[in-house]
């Protein structure tokens, strides 16, 4: 699956439509929220993997697997210090921060 970056993002948005409609028909707003929830936990990892030399399909599948496992690991640990709900937001910020830091570090390495 060697799809162009912009194309794949447009395709992802188009493909999201039947997923959201399907989720809503079967499980109402909860279905939609769960579908978006999976995107939410996977997004930081997609941002990170997007900058690595991986195929587009690999980025999607790997980021979903990491989002459903590594993301909750940090939430669980933070959940001892702060509320579980806050921990979800904090984990998102931490992982997006890590992704951005890695991308910047890689870019600066390329420049030098």
């Amino acid at each position: 699956m060697n799809l162009k970056l912009k194309d794949i993002h447009v395709f992802a948005l188009v493909a999201a439509l039947p997923i959201l409609i399907f989720s809503y028909i079967l499980f109402g707003m909860t279905g939609i929220r769960v579908a978006l929830g999976i995107v939410f936990v996977s997004l930081p990892f997609y941002i990170l993997l997007n900058k690595l030399e991986l195929e587009e399909g690999e980025k999607f599948v790997f980021s979903a697997l990491l989002g459903l496992t590594i993301f909750p690991s940090l939430v669980y640990i933070l959940g001892f210090l702060i509320s579980f709900r806050l921990a979800i937001a904090a984990a998102f910020i931490v992982f997006v921060g890590i992704a951005i830091a890695v991308i910047k570090y890689n870019n600066s390495k390329k420049v030098t």
Binding site: N2, A15, I19, R33, V34, G37, I38, T69, F71, R85
Partner: protein, 537 residues
């Protein structure tokens, strides 16, 4: 073919897969769609309880609350009374309960998505190595794989998700190995294999061992094929650090692997029997009472029509022996080894490993079907037509045979069980108890049949009540301390009249009325709704 045409073809193929996957989610969630009530065996209750506790109480926890500890307090041999599985799987359920805003649908839907992730993994790997047609046919067979959805229904939730990692781990390692040379290599794939292997261990240790065996077989097979030993200290050390970091992340749980691994071997299956080497499945007689006999049948689980395609697929790959063919064969051999570990004295949970059969059988059968046309030499485009013709027959058979059989087990009436599953009134009462009964109090129940032949089923109902109410819940009539219990400030009394009407049990109804009048005079009625009454001490 132009680049634009290739792009649009890729989009269409991915879109077709998305539609198939949505159908899989639809098919697997039928019991939830029908009733929106919790269902499953004891394992399902425990996984629901752990995820739900974090979300509802808005905190992580180390020490098990009493209603979970009662059954699982000693399951973690390394650190008793703590979580017996590493927490990522359950924390994921908890996160989705928070985001989804609903206790049941969020958890059961996410669990379905994680249990069906094997369909995504197999599609992705087979599509990457063999193309779209074998991939989509494999995915189609997996949608209707009873050996996958039966354990999912029973409640082996983390294990189902863990199996999705095996093809991904093997794929990452394969990409590293085949792309390896002294001048140019992609260590990223080895690091990813290590990362997913570590995560695999955090999801389910049994499946982790399966992955390890798979990696060993794949490495040896590729090394023989390519006549080279791939080893790079730098790559290995970085990967080992990644794995070790994950291993040490939740030590109370991961260290539980060692006492689990060294414990008894599971009993009756451990005697060496040469005939076992020539059998794929296990003897159903060894699992009477715990696993239905059909679970061990190839005909029922895969469909006998897939057998010729499966054998052709293996034959084709064995004859061709390209790197990607070696990948599939190594995966098959590793499952064979895992399934025959009883010969080495490790017979525990053998039947659980059998549940991974379809993950490799489905792609092998699909490859056999797709490449069948290449066995005969035909003029011009006829091979192509023949290939699509066989694929069409494959699809028709999958729907007419596999889906038809799967629908008998998995449908909207699955777990529509009067005795074992909570009814709406009981679910509402459990929700009320969650918000209104003090956390230190327990609940004892009258009205739900506690005697045989009902008890084995109604015990599940009682446990689901405990899971939803987050309180220890027990049958009143099975307590030996009935008199003290009535005087205790720790026990709420619930009278459930909802089952007596359908059972036409007038005698129990009268006894419960009398019980309320005579035994509960000093208790206060705090809940009275739709045939369920709760008294506060």
């Amino acid at each position: 073919m132009t680049r634009g045409m290739k792009l649009s073809r890729n989009y269409i193929q991915t879109f077709i897969f998305i539609l198939l996957y949505l159908f899989a989610v639809y098919f697997w969630t039928q019991p939830l769609q029908a009733r929106k009530l919790p269902y499953g065996e004891y394992d399902a209750m425990s996984h629901f309880e752990v995820g739900d506790y974090m979300a509802y109480n808005d905190k992580s926890f180390m020490k098990l609350p009493p209603y979970i500890d009662l059954r699982y307090g000693t399951d973690n041999k390394f650190k008793q009374h703590t979580l017996w599985y590493p927490p990522p799987f359950h924390a994921s359920l908890g996160i989705m309960e928070v985001i989804g805003g609903d206790r049941l649908i969020s958890i059961f839907l996410l669990n379905t998505i994680m249990a069906t992730f094997i369909i995504i993994s197999v599609y992705f790997v087979v599509n990457s190595l063999f193309g779209f047609l074998p991939a989509i046919l494999s995915a189609l067979l997996l949608v209707f794989s009873p050996r996958d959805f039966m354990p999912f229904l029973w409640g082996q939730w983390p294990e189902r998700f863990a199996y999705a990692f095996i093809p991904i781990i093997l794929y990452c390692f394969y990409k590293y190995f085949v792309g390896y040379s002294k001048e140019n290599s992609k260590p990223l794939y080895l690091h990813l294999a290590s990362l997913f292997l570590g995560i695999n261990m955090l999801i389910h240790p049994l499946v982790f061992f399966h992955s390890v065996i798979g990696l060993a077989v794949l490495y040896i097979s590729l090394a023989i094929k390519q006549k080279k030993i791939v080893f790079n200290w730098k790559h290995v050390i970085v990967s080992a650090v990644i794995f070790l970091a994950l291993f040490l992340l939740f030590p109370y749980q991961t260290f539980n692997i060692f006492p689990q691994f060294t414990r008894g071997n599971g009993g009756e299956n451990s005697n060496f029997n040469l005939a076992r080497l020539f059998q794929w499945s296990l003897n159903p007689q060894d699992y009477i009472g715990s696993v239905p006999a059909v679970y061990f049948s190839f005909r029922e689980m895969h469909g006998l029509w897939t057998l010729p395609f499966l054998l052709l697929g293996i034959l084709f790959l064995a004859l061709r022996r390209e790197e990607r063919d070696i990948f599939m064969l190594a995966w098959l051999v590793s499952l064979y080894l895992v399934l025959h570990r009883d010969i080495a004295g490790k017979a525990s949970f053998l039947h659980r490993s059998l549940s991974a059969s379809a993950h490799i059988f489905a792609p092998l059968a699909a490859i056999g079907a797709v490449y069948l046309a290449s066995f005969v030499k035909l003029p011009s485009n006829f091979n192509k037509y023949l290939k699509y013709g066989i694929a069409a027959v494959f699809v028709v058979l999958a729907f007419s045979m596999n889906m038809a059989y799967a629908s008998k087990i998995l449908n909207k009436d699955t777990y529509n069980d009067f005795f074992a599953t909570l009814n709406n009134e009981e679910y509402q009462a459990a929700q009320w108890a969650l918000g209104n009964v003090p956390i230190s109090a327990n609940i004892t129940v009258l009205g739900i049949p506690h005697q045989e032949p009902y008890q084995s089923a109604t015990s599940k109902k009682i446990r689901w009540f405990a899971a939803v109410s987050q309180h220890v819940t027990r049958f009143y009539h099975l307590r030996e301390d009935k008199e003290q219990l009535l005087k205790s400030k720790e026990w709420y009394i619930m009278l459930d009249y909802t089952m007596l009407g359908p059972l036409n049990d007038r005698q129990t109804f009268d006894e419960m009325q009398q019980f309320e009048k005579t035994k509960l005079v000093s208790h206060a009625l705090v809940y009275d709704n739709k045939g369920i009454r709760v008294y506060k001490p």
